[in-house]
């Protein structure tokens, strides 16, 4: 039961790295022997996944990552290396995260997962989600974690990027997560389960909102870069630990919010502050939330 995160990190020319990820006591992240710089994105996602897997006593998440600052070079490198990485890591969950949204590469990647790791659950956030939807592959995914604007993109069959979401989806009160979850599912733009991040987190299964998480309300979390990444990391790690997907989604939303409360979030804090709060949050709450009680 292993999570493999496929992503990039924001270092120009940063090398391709494959291996288990570890969160050091000073909060820094290591993949194999390589240090991954503190940043939103991959470091935040993997940091949260490490915290969850450590609490649960499950395998450390694996990462296949390369440096990319937006030109797509690192993205191409990780996609090229994916078949071999799948053969080595034998993941039960594969999460596509910060990647240049290149549809053709995502089509090959999903094919590679189906060949090399049959049965593995697919998760997508960030550019991985953009590519999966734009390539028409969203319905093959188990879990996606859009914000409400990205949900509008998932619901718009013509959009290939959230920057081009049709305005007709945007009502007078903004995007409606309940309506758009249904539309996205109906039009083949959504994973089986969605966590729609927002002031209230909506969890939808096959287009129907089946749970919401609204407490604690920590408005500053929206301002902090990387808190969506920590949510995706938590959900992916819970999924790899064997949680049913809806439980993984609800527990991730709860833990992320509670960490925001515990750290006393302000708009100037960083995702690594939230990751640092997670061990206590999981220790104090996860047993009651899910029955996953550390011995």
């Amino acid at each position: 039961m292993t999570l493999l995160v496929v992503a990039t990190y924001p270092v120009e020319g940063g090398p391709l790295v494959l291996g288990p990820a570890f969160l050091e006591t000073d909060g820094s992240l290591r993949v194999g022997d390589a240090a991954v710089p503190h940043a939103q994105g991959t470091a935040a996602m993997l940091g949260a996944a490490c915290a969850a897997s450590r609490y649960l006593g499950t395998s450390a998440p694996w990462a296949l990552i390369a440096g990319d600052i937006g030109r797509g070079d690192g993205t191409r490198a990780v996609f090229n290396a994916l078949p071999a990485a799948l053969a080595q890591a034998r993941p039960s969950v594969v999460a596509f995260h910060y990647l240049q949204p290149i549809m053709a590469l995502m089509r090959e990647a999903v094919g590679a997962v189906e060949r090399e790791a049959p049965g593995a659950l697919l998760v997508a956030d960030a550019g991985g989600m953009y590519a999966a939807k734009a390539a028409g592959l969203a319905s093959r995914f188990e879990l996606m974690t859009p914000d409400v604007g990205e949900l509008g993109f998932l619901a718009d069959p013509a959009a290939t990027h959230p920057a081009y979401v049709s305005h007709y989806l945007f009502g007078t009160d903004g995007f409606d997560p309940v309506k758009l979850s249904g539309l996205a599912h109906e039009r083949g733009g959504a994973a089986r389960v969605l966590i729609v991040k927002g002031e209230i987190d909506h969890i939808a299964e096959q287009g129907e909102v089946v749970a919401t998480v609204a407490e604690p309300l920590v408005p500053a979390l929206e301002a902090i870069g990387g808190t969506g990444d920590t949510l995706a990391g938590l959900a992916s790690a819970f999924l790899a630990a064997g949680f049913p997907t809806l439980d993984a989604a609800v527990c991730a939303a709860r833990a992320n919010r509670e960490a925001g409360r515990v750290m006393g979030a302000t708009p100037a804090m960083r995702a690594r502050d939230l990751v640092a709060a997670l061990p206590d949050v999981l220790r104090d709450n996860l047993c009651a939330w899910s029955g996953a009680c550390a011995l």
Partner: protein, 182 residues
């Protein structure tokens, strides 16, 4: 208005009279925009036609009648153009939904799903968030901790549509806080 347009492009039939320059990368489209703007061309940044999109593209629309001159100018300036589409049909412009949240000492500006957060007292950028392309964490590293009036523009550092939308948020934050954009 997200992108500068001259009055004559506001005519109802102006869109039909435009064609599109296509590019392999967003920075190339932004480079073309700068070249055409400097030369006084009428232009708009838009989505390429659906069947020609690779996933994260941007195209530049100019009136068809100016195609030849504009293409020559781009070629002479060294801008790599993938091609020209004479009849693009409907081409959506990037979303222009800008909202703000006032946290007291901090102002957050959202453009689409991209956000920038500025300390109102010091003008220091304390956070950027949203978006999923690889230049977003890079822009976060490059921008956070710098003053709004000293930071480079996100569109001069970024490579994708996410970076372009963050630039829109940056532009609005500058306007609201009385800062001249870089």
């Amino acid at each position: 208005m997200l992108f500068r347009k001259k009055d004559r492009r506001e005519a109802p039939d102006a869109h039909e009279a435009s064609g599109l320059f296509l590019f392999d990368q967003v920075p190339d489209a932004l480079w073309a925009e700068r070249v055409l703007k400097r030369a006084g061309y009428d232009y708009a940044l838009v989505a390429p036609p659906h069947h020609l999109r690779a996933g994260c593209d941007l195209a530049v629309a100019v009136p068809r009648v100016e195609h030849v001159g504009a293409e020559r100018l781009l070629r002479e300036s060294g801008v790599p153009v993938r091609g020209w589409v004479d009849d693009p049909g409907s081409s959506a412009a990037p979303v222009d939904l800008v909202t703000t949240v006032d946290f007291g000492d901090h102002l957050m500006v959202r453009a689409g799903n991209m956000k920038i957060v500025v300390d109102k007292n010091t003008l220091v950028i304390v956070n950027t968030s949203g978006g999923g392309c690889p230049d977003i964490p890079y822009l976060n590293v490059e921008l956070v901790g710098r003053r709004l009036d000293e930071a480079p523009r996100p569109k001069s550092l970024g490579y994708t549509l996410c970076g372009l939308m963050l630039d829109r948020a940056y532009e609005e934050a500058c306007a609201l806080l009385g800062v001249e954009p870089a």
